[in-house]
Each structure stands twice: as C-alpha cells, then as structure tokens.
C-alpha cells in the first residue's frame, strides 16, 4: 500500500464518520424549508367547508387555533373547475403574465448578451468604471428607482402601458452581470486564436462566445423568469388598468376566506415556475457557481 492509498483510506474513513450528523442536520433544514410548501397542493384540492372549519379562528369566527390538514379529508377539484372554467378573467391575467415575462426575457437576451460580451471580451477605456456602475444599478432597490422611472415613463408617454414594466426590466443590469460572469469562464486565448484565424468579432461572439458561455446565460434567464413571473411592485406602480395586470397582482386580492381558491391559483402560478426551475436547475446551479467564484 503506497502513501497515497493510506491517505485516501484515512480521508474516506473520516467522511463516513461525519456524514450521519451532517446528513441529519441538512435533512432537517431541507424539511423545514419545504414544509410550508407542502401546504399548497393539499389546500388546492380541499373542500371549502373543510378549509372554513380548519381556518375559522384565523377568519375571526371562532376560538382556538387554526389547524391544517396536509392531506384533504374531502378532496375536490371544485377550485380548479371554478378557476379554469368559471373565471375568464383568469386567462386574461395569465396571458398578460406570459406575455410580459416573455417580452422581458427576449429583450434581456437581445440587449443583455452583447453588453455582457463587450464587458467580458474587450478591454476598452472606462470599462471598469462602467461595469462598476452596472453593479451599483443592479443593487438599487426598485423603490429607489421608482421616481426616476416614473419621470421617464411620463416623458415617454408610456405610463400605464405594459411597456412601462417591460422596458426598464429589459435594460436591467442584473442579467448582464450574470451573463458576464458566464463569459469570463472562457479562455481569452481561444478568442485570440479565433481572431488570428480571421473570424470577425460578430462571428466570435455568435460561434465561440454564445456556446461556451451558455450556462451563465441560462442561469440569468432562469433567475429572470422567477423574478418577473412574480412581479408585484412594478405593475402596481405603473399599470393603472386592471386589464393589464399580471397574475401576481390577482392573487393578493383573494381574501383568506377564499384560501382554497387562492391555493388553486397558487398551484397554477407555481407550475410554470417549477417547470422552468426543473429545466434550468443545472444551469442555475452552475451559473450561480460562476457568480460565486471569481476568475
């Protein structure tokens, strides 16, 4: 047995000994984090009478405390029926959300990718300053940008137009930051080689940059989707007419007395988000990895 083997055996032993406690703690944390989410599917299929009975203390109609059945005793699809068949307004709002999110993501790709590429691949005067500016802009909370954006939207006559929500989001600097971090994983030598072979800058961007930096791009898209699928403050501030609202503003209007119905809406809102999440999780994890590690 050589030294390396001895060492590796030693290390393996150590790992095994630790893992029970660590697994237990991690399992507990993951369980606590997921527990509230387990309430949602149950609630969506629960009979209204059952919900009323469980939640009557919260609704102000009884003593004692609210309880919750994770598995409904009287399951029903009533809420989904009411939502999907009985409320045409739901579809309007649903497609508003889809349209808004789609437009924002498409815009971020078209505008953000070349910007991120410029920061990652080129050295130009003022690059560091400009990038610093992008980072500060990315950190500003929406409420700080509320007045500036209100002013510009008024000037451009976009107030209360869906573009009032879409355009500022398209030029958001956060996706640029993430895409940039994805692009910085590419070796600059590869680009130099491509240049020496006579590739144009556009060709390098399209055929070298985009494929090699795609994990960062996909991570940015997943993060953006999760963000804009649940947009609340922007449409509240800039969209006056309810017909333009996204679904995320419809949900808060539902009173807790309609909890079952609200849970059904939640499930419908949650499904696309989970779908994107499942599809993009690899990219998300790897993309976030790029953010975390400085190269």
């Amino acid at each position: 047995m050589d030294v390396a083997q001895i060492i590796s055996v030693k290390i393996k032993k150590k790992k095994k000994k630790n893992s029970w406690l660590a697994t237990g703690i991690c399992f507990l944390m993951a369980f606590i984090i997921c527990l509230p989410l387990l309430m949602i599917p149950g609630g969506a299929f629960m009979d209204p009478a059952e919900i009323r009975q469980m939640l009557s203390p919260v609704l102000g109609a009884g003593n004692g405390y609210a309880i919750w059945h994770f598995i409904p005793i009287y399951p029903t699809i009533e809420h989904f029926y009411r939502l999907l068949i009985g409320s045409p307004a739901f579809y309007k709002l649903f497609w508003n959300t889809v349209g808004m999110t789609g437009a924002i993501l498409a815009g971020q790709l078209i505008v953000g990718l070349p910007s991120a590429w410029a920061f990652a691949a080129f050295k130009f005067r003022g690059r560091d300053f400009l990038f610093g500016l992008y980072v500060v802009l990315m950190l500003l909370p929406f409420q700080v940008m509320l007045l500036p954006q209100y002013i510009v939207l008024q000037k451009l006559d976009l107030y209360s137009n869906p573009a009032a929500v879409i355009l500022p989001a398209v030029f958001s600097t956060f996706p640029v930051f993430i895409m940039y971090r994805g692009f910085t994983q590419i070796d600059l030598e590869v680009l130099e080689a491509a240049r020496l072979d006579g590739a144009g800058e556009l060709q390098i961007f399209l055929y070298v940059g985009l494929p090699l930096g795609q994990m960062g791009t996909r991570a940015a898209m997943v993060l953006s989707f999760l963000e804009y699928w649940n947009l609340v403050e922007q449409p509240m501030a800039f969209l006056e007419e309810q017909k333009d609202w996204p679904l995320s503003l419809y949900l808060p209007q539902l009173d807790i007395s309609q909890a079952g119905f609200a849970f059904a809406v939640s499930v419908v809102v949650l499904i696309p988000a989970l779908f994107v999440f499942a599809l993009g999780q690899d990219a998300l994890e790897e993309g976030i990895t790029y953010i975390g590690t400085k190269k």
Partner: protein, 292 residues
Amino acid sequence: MKGKWRFRWMNRRLLFLLPGFAGVMVFYLLPFLEVVRRSFLRSGNRAFVGMDNYNAVFHNAAFVLAVRNTAVYMAVGVPLLMVISLLLAMLLRNLTTKRKFVSAMLLPMAVPAAVMVLVLRILIDRQGAVNGMLAGITEHFASLPVFEGIDYLNSGWAIVIVLCSFLWKNTGYMVILWLAGLSALPKEVEEAARVDGANKWQNWHYIIRPGLSGTTFTIGMLSVLQIFKSYREVWMVAGSYPQENIYFLQHLLQNWYLKLEFDRMAALTVLLSLVLLVVCLCLQKRLEQNGG
C-alpha cells in the same frame, strides 16, 4: 492611417455595448440625474430651494424610524443569512446526497410571493397554526403558564417573522454560492494539512477562510440585493403601514410616491443611492486590498 483603423475597430467592438447602454441611459441614468436636479427644486413652480428638501427628509419622523429599522434589518439579516448558509454549505460539501438537499433548499426561490404570504398568514395569525402548536406544547406541561397567543405581526415579533421569511427564501441560493466557492478551493492543500495533523478549526481558519474572501464579497452583495427584494413579501403580508419595527425605507418611498410627495422623495432617492454607492466603493476597495 493606423490610428484611424484602430479607432474604427474599437467602435465596432463597442457596438456590442451600445444598445444596452443606451437603454440604461434612458431608463436609469438620465432620469436619475433629473431626480438629482429636482431634489434641489420645489416641484410646483420649479424654484430653487437649495437643501430644503433634504432638510425636510432629515426632520421627518418616519424617515428616522425607517432608517433605524432598515439598518437593523440589514445588519442582522445579511450576516445571519451568510453564516447560516455557510455552515450548511460546510456540512453539505462532503455529502454524496448534496444535490438533493440543495434542490430542496432552492425550492422557495420558485414560490411566488403571494403564495408564501397566504401560507404565512395561516401560520402566524394570532389564532394561527404556530400559536396553536405552542399552545399544545404548553398544555402538556402543567408547570408552564397558560399560553395567550402571540400577535406576531402587530408586536415586536414582526421583525423576527420578516427575518425568518427572508432566511427561508434565500438560504438555498446562498448555500449554492458558498458550495461554488468551496469547490473552487484546491483540495490538495486541505488533504496535505490533514495529513500533517491540522485539526478542523485550523483547517477552517488557515485554509478555507482566506480562500473564500472573493466569494464572501459576491455573496454579501447578493445578500444585500435579496434583502432589498424581500420588501415585496413584507409589504404583501403587512401592508403599507405595518407594525413600526418593520417600517422600512421602501415603505416610506412607496408611500410618498402614492401621496405624490415628489420633492422629499427625490431627496431621499439621491441620499439612498449615495449611501449604496459609497458602500459599494468601500467594499470594492477592501477587496482589492485583500487581493481577492
């Protein structure tokens, strides 16, 4: 001739940046400069009023309250999030089941704020499920005093609830980031140190901690970003005028916006951006000094 050629070449490269930058100018920078200008004017007749708007902000009681609350929230929330997620990442990093746990912890990211708020209200209402559980526990032990039920959102507990929901939503995100930073550390150094008899504490203090300084900066920045975003849940669960411990600067800005008090709002906008800018610059400088 050569200079001209290089100039044109530069220009072509900057074309990549131009569309995005034009948009950033139109929707972020120029309106921001306009707000800076307006912060010195009175909105009605556009008369120059010097620092009046700033003075009005500083002498506003709600402003003082909001600054204090926001500072406390951030000073507790950001380090707490970073430490908890780092501890979890340290535990997770040698597990083979790492991925499953990480997926489970990331799940809250996908949950719409409104859904979370609904669940939260059922749990933490004065007659909600959490109080129900606490009451159940106290009943079992006769020696404990009778449980009265805590009205979480209308008492000092409000900030605790807000912190918990912030941690709940963002721990997974930060765990991934820490795991990324940890995986970038060279394994050989640690193994060598272990063979040489370094204990866990030494391993952490001399090898892992210094190696994570760059990651720490990024995670700190993103934690700040997320803590600003958590306003959404706070507002949705507690409204525009919540319990006074959770009245943040964002409430103030939003309420002034709704009341069309643009003078003071402009001044506050400028002040907050300045604070953020200074913090960013300081952090960056410190990072560069550390060589991260």
